[in-house]
């Protein structure tokens, strides 16, 4: 943990990028058991300043945080990061994700002691840890997992993350097409063993089933609550817990208290006795609490405090972590051709050269500096830093395709006009008008739109028309009616594999309306092959090629990868910040004397 005082933001980001590449290339990182996988998340490593001077523990092991209240505490129905955060703390599934001192994800076996995969890659058998109990002393059984997985794909319950289980034989059919529950291939073997069979091999399956929506459930309690007219989804008193903590108190939209679960199998490793979560909406109040040490961790949303707090990082009051998020923000280019659509009002969007010229017309560094305080990572590719194929980071093996393109106005204008000729559009670039759509005219959005316009008009010479809709519904209507050439969109990956992004641009994807409707049989074939391959090296190569092709055809215009600015009091140690699932993993946090 090198202490790097007063490091500039830009150089910090560079340092992070380089650090992650080195880590991934060295192929370090393997942890316990057969299941460990790791992520070369570029998080944090360079950032933590002023390593705590003491390792003596404080008398009171209580962690204070802010949060937004949970809509529900039903693991199968998990939706938002706040639910991931609390449910990861109070429940436990097959695996638990920590981060090491370099901020790299380390997946450890938790509920599962080991698992086997059949030679054809289709059948996964999970062996559960012996002696685990729920907080009501009932053992955690394989039946609890089977109940959960079958409940996840129950069509009547319409859970958001059901699609993650669609690889299991019969699951998609049951959930979407009226198939039978009996045909879903999740089977109980004995009290501590169960197995699931897939339709095709899925190298990312293990990464998916570690997520909260696959955590075990107590069907007996759900049924009992339902029979009694209780509200299992939301009433914490009806729940039992098998995680490091349990929910001991909750006031709707105000606060929640978690206490240490002494019955947790690994309770010896848990030092915290209590976690206090509070709803605090005002950012200035949040800052007030952080500065007076009444909260211990804060994910900064208001960039106003960045400068002041970087000083506090320099003097050792706070630790700072710039954590990469599995998220890419990009301009969607309209390439829809289904139902008679012709790719947006401009008439040039179906041509790959025109699209690529547009993609190269933006100065991403300027965007970052102007709108993101220089804190996000500019994107010259589709896949964010930190996403891995097997054990290796995707970005380390595949340089970003747009990083070395010639972006001089003359070159891209020539490319654009070449494309116009191919598309049969007469005239020069200045005869083309691109329409951008947006909704809700906030100052930030308006100035971003103006910036897009200025970049395209300045670098490419096209005209840009800005259509701002008053609200989301009119905007969605316009989008679905193809009344746009481009718009800004962000997307978060769901699991740690490039597939979580690449499947979005496959022809006929359920998400095509958010991706501009890119379609190329060659791309589809590569992604299909990568999806079924069990060979990480082959997958890496296929994904790399697919990304190149996608961007070479201007399938989208990546702008930046998100990251979070996290400030932590200097006396907090052992806080993990995994890239996927919960933002924080609390079970090994220690409060040092201060």
């Amino acid at each position: 943990m090198a202490s790097k005082h007063s490091i500039s933001r830009r150089s910090f980001l560079k340092a992070v990028g380089a650090g992650s590449a080195a880590v991934a290339a060295a192929g370090v990182l393997t942890a316990c058991g057969g299941s460990s996988s790791s992520t070369a998340s570029s998080a944090a490593s360079a950032a933590a300043s002023a390593a705590p001077a003491t390792t003596e523990l404080a008398a009171e092991q209580v962690l204070n945080l802010i949060y937004t209240d949970l809509a529900l505490i039903d693991v199968n129905d998990v939706r938002n990061s706040n639910e991931f955060e609390v449910l990861t703390a109070v429940q436990e599934g097959l695996f638990r994700t920590f981060t090491d001192e370099n901020g790299v994800d380390v997946v450890e076996n938790a509920g599962c002691e080991s698992y086997d995969v059949s030679d054809d890659g289709l059948t996964y058998t999970f062996h559960l840890r012996e002696g685990m109990v729920w907080s009501d002393d009932q053992p955690v059984t394989a039946q609890n997992y089977v109940d959960s997985w079958l409940r996840l794909v129950n069509p009547d319950l319409a859970f958001s993350y059901a699609f993650l289980a669609y690889g299991i034989v019969g699951a998609e059919d049951y959930c979407e097409n009226g198939g039978k529950l009996e045909d879903v291939a999740v089977e109980l073997v004995d009290d501590l063993t169960f197995k699931a069979t897939l339709t095709t091999p899925d190298p990312a399956f293990i990464k998916k089933v570690g997520m909260v929506c696959f955590y075990p459930v107590r069907k007996d309690l759900i049924d009992a609550a339902e029979a009694a007219g209780g509200n299992w989804t939301n009433d914490y008193t009806l729940h039992v817990y098998n995680g490091p903590f349990y929910i001991s108190d909750r006031v709707l939209e105000n606060n929640m208290t978690l206490k240490k679960n002494e019955k947790y199998w690994n309770a010896d490793e848990v030092t915290l006795t209590q976690i206090n979560l509070r709803v605090v909406d005002e950012t200035s109040t949040q800052a007030q609490l952080m500065e007076s040490q009444q909260i211990d961790v804060l994910k900064l949303t208001d960039f106003e405090y960045v400068d002041r707090w970087q000083n506090k990082v320099a003097d050792g009051t706070f630790q700072y972590f710039g954590k990469d998020e599995p998220s890419v923000n990009y301009l969607v280019l309209n390439q829809h051709t289904e139902d008679g659509a012709t790719g947006g009002p401009s008439g040039v969007m179906l041509n790959p050269k025109c699209r690529k010229a547009i993609a190269l017309a933006f100065d991403r560094e300027e965007f970052n500096a102007m709108f993101k305080e220089g804190l996000v990572t500019t994107a010259y590719g589709v896949i964010p830093y930190g996403i891995t194929v097997g054990e290796q980071e995707f970005r380390a093996a595949n340089p970003e395709p747009y990083a070395d393109e010639d972006t001089s106005p003359d070159t891209i204008k020539a490319l654009f006009e070449e494309g116009m000729a191919e598309a049969g559009v007469a005239g020069t670039a200045s005869d083309v008008t691109l329409t951008v759509i947006s909704y809700g005219a906030t100052t930030e959005k308006t100035s971003q739109l103006e910036w897009f316009k200025q970049q395209l008009e300045g670098n490419l010479g096209v005209k840009v028309q800005i259509d701002t809709y008053p609200d989301t519904s009119t905007y969605v209507t316009a989008r679905n009616a193809q009344q746009y050439d481009f718009y800004l969109q962000g997307w978060n990956g769901d699991y740690n594999d490039p597939m979580t992004f690449f499947e979005l641009w496959v022809t006929g994807s359920g998400y095509a309306k958010f991706m501009g409707g890119y379609s190329n049989p060659e791309y589809d074939e590569m992604i299909e092959k990568a999806g079924a391959s069990q060979d990480d090296a082959e997958r890496m190569e296929l994904f790399g090629k697919a990304e190149k092709l996608l961007l070479d055809e201007g399938g989208l215009v990546p702008l930046y990868y998100d990251n979070s600015q996290i400030y932590v009091q200097s006396y907090v140690s052992g806080l993990s910040m995994p890239m996927f699932g919960s933002d924080f993993e609390f079970s090994r946090v220690k409060i040092l004397a201060h």
Binding site: A71, L72, D156, A158, F163, N255, Q288, S292, T474, G510
Partner: protein, 319 residues
């Protein structure tokens, strides 16, 4: 008899008003673009989204939903929250209203008493330095939003000086514990009362002081003090008495800004969040319940008029 007839008539009008309010609220909410689920289902496959809508009955046509909602209202069943499954309007009001009520009542008691004192001061010392001070103070207090006061008090007294907690609210012994938590929110919310009641009482007192009967009282040889206490004050309290019930009713609805700044689990914050999230059932229920409360308060106020002012009486056929 007249009184009874009047009461019954008012009651029927009250029900009709409630019906209008419920109907208007329903259709306004229905006309708002988007709904409680639209953000949640935006990125879900269409089939899953459709099932989600069916689950909450939002796939039905507006008129059908209206009939279902109104039937529920008649039976006192407002339905479950769409955002927090299992929560009902009743359970939320039961949990949150007392908290807003304690804060509101503390603010009101402090604000109204200070306001009345300043009002008397300004009226009695009309044209003096004190009068102008009160006027200036009132203008300042009423024009600065309480959000600003809340943040300012929080920063100085909780942040810099550390005398009070930055946020929080007593979680047990709802009415009597944790006074230190309540000091700053109470102060932040009392300024409005100070300003409005000071101005109200001053204006009313000046009005009364110009009446002939005050001249009569003075000419009887009563001291200035006696005139103010026995004649002016009692008569100038009519607007105060008619304003107070509405202030009391406002207490339980809570203040969005103050509850938000100090992280107080009250009704005001919850209500606004429910509107923002388009949690239709909760918004409908709360609106109807709060509207009913106001209407009852207006009714009580009308009765109060007759108590404090004998000049106002209900006479047959003359209303």
């Amino acid at each position: 008899m007249k009184m009874l007839q009047y009461t019954v008539k008012r009651f029927v009008i009250m029900l009709f008003t409630l019906f209008i309010i419920a109907t208007a609220t329903f259709f306004l909410l229905a006309a708002t673009p988007g709904d409680a689920l639209s953000a949640r289902v935006e990125k879900l496959p269409d089939s899953v989204a459709a099932r989600m809508y069916a689950k909450y009955g939002l796939d039905k046509p507006v008129m059908e939903r209206y009939v279902i909602t109104m039937k529920g209202l008649v039976h006192g069943d407002f339905g479950e929250s769409i955002i927090y499954e299992g929560q009902t309007v009743q359970s939320i009001i039961k949990e949150k209203a007392p908290i807003s009520a304690r804060l509101g009542i503390q603010q009101m008691l402090l604000g109204v008493s200070l306001g009345l004192a300043l009002g008397v001061l300004a009226a009695v010392k009309k044209g003096s330095f004190w009068d102008y001070l009160v006027v200036a103070l009132s203008i300042l207090l009423i024009s600065v939003p309480n959000l600003v006061f809340a943040l300012l008090l929080q920063q100085v007294f909780a942040g810099k000086l550390g005398w009070f907690p930055v946020i929080g609210w007593p979680s047990n012994h709802l009415w009597t514990s944790g006074w230190n938590y309540t000091v700053l929110p109470t102060l932040a919310g009392c300024f409005g009362y100070i300003a409005s009641y000071a101005r109200l009482l001053k204006a009313s007192m000046l009005d009364v002081m110009n009446q002939d009967y005050i001249l009569t009282a003075e000419s009887k040889g009563l001291t200035h003090r006696e005139v103010i206490l026995h004649h002016v004050l009692r008569n100038s309290f009519i607007p105060i008495v008619t304003n107070l019930p509405m202030s009391v009713a406002m207490c339980i609805t809570g203040s969005f800004f103050i509850e938000s700044v100090f992280s107080i689990p009250g009704l005001g914050l919850y209500y606004v969040n429910a509107v923002a999230a388009q949690d239709v059932t909760i918004v409908m229920g709360e609106t109807v319940i709060l509207a009913a409360l106001y209407i009852i308060v207006v009714f009580v106020t009308d009765i109060l008029y007759t108590v404090v002012d004998p000049r106002i009486r209900i006479r047959g056929g003359k209303r």
